[in-house]
Amino acid sequence: MQDQRDLWDWEMFFRALPPVLEGFLTVTLLVTVLGTAIAAVLGLVWAMLIRLAPQPVSGIVKWFVAFIRMTPIVVQLLFAYYAFLMVDAMTIGIVVFGIHYSTYMSEVYRAGIDAVPKGQWEATTALSMSTRRTWAAVVIPQALRATVPALGNYAISMFKDTPFLLVIGVVEMVNAAQIFGGNNFRYVEAITLAGIIFLLASYPTSVLIRRMEKRLAYAN
């Protein structure tokens, strides 16, 4: 047993690897991927409803989206967890992350739809396209292209928010690190490891997204 005050203990680091990596692969990544998928779809639904639905509906959706966006995901997680006790915490987490981030993404879609040039809309009228075809074949494909980088950035920020899941007892990466630290009376290696994994996964992705942003800007 080494001195508690040793700055760094490699043996402890390698012992912390399996549980922390397991939390990363089985929970953190899974929640990020499924949560992003839900958020990407629901966000488009909110944006379309706010734009196309008749008044009472679009107004209600607008307020709902603002309300979810301006309140903490931690409280939303706790609420959903205790309100649906029969559903397992992991599913609750995926759905709440999906809904919370869909409210950010709806803004991205709104901006993307607004950025489709007026001439495109006029062209669909000139070609007497139906509303359905206008959206499906002309507006959405162009709007989506411009929104990909922003959606990627939200996926990264969701990834870094996944430790909030520990409030409903889900053992994701940081919670796993904390539990390991508690069991061994030594936190530095496990928590640092979790930080390094976050940095290694999110920094290259954000560089890629920045490059994609630049390429899209040149293409226009």
Partner: protein, 245 residues
Amino acid sequence: MLENIQATVEAWPFLARGLWVTIQLTVLGSALALVLAIILGLMAGAPARALSVPGRIIIEFFRGTSLVVQLFFIFFVLPQFGIDLPGMVVGVLALGLNYGAYAAEVVRGSIASVPRGQWEATTALSMSPVHRMRRVIFPQAWALMIPSLASLMVHLLKGTAIVSVILLQDFTFHLDQLRRVTDTTWAYAVVGLVGYFVLALALTLVMNALEARAKHRLGRGPSLREILSPTPTAKDSLSTAGRGF
């Protein structure tokens, strides 16, 4: 329903104490974040690589590792090396460092987007770099950065809800106490989410006022007093900016 209201009234002193902790965390965390953001933003945007490279590394480090990792590092790891900080300081430090790094990007971007002519004019007037930043560039960048800083502040407010995991008794902590005597929907959805929503709205209003003031000082848009006065002045009806308040 009636029991819920009664229980909430009885729990109110605790909820108010929790709200106060949340407000303190938000205000102090934002203040620290702002100071760090200005220092790091100026560093990252500096022409000298000796400043910009360390600035970039610090920003990417605190942005790239999650808020909760930073919180746990300060709460669990530092005491192991004899640095034992009170809970409130741990919360403010983690929030300030994390959101400060995000805000530094806003500061850097806003300074970079002050028009080139303004920079050239300061050179023509042979202003010193400090004088240029303080009197010409920063006031203009400040008006540009307030909307983004406002949305980061709302994020910071929402981020404070995690501090109950390091045993701080904030609003979320007391909501959990309330849940034990009322029902879940009441405690978390009605009292909790609405409470945070009202705080976030108040914060947004304050930041809108700050933006109007910053624009007015640049000679764009009416002053705060003009906006808030019940009788529109002649000057007010001439200007168009800042009316959405």
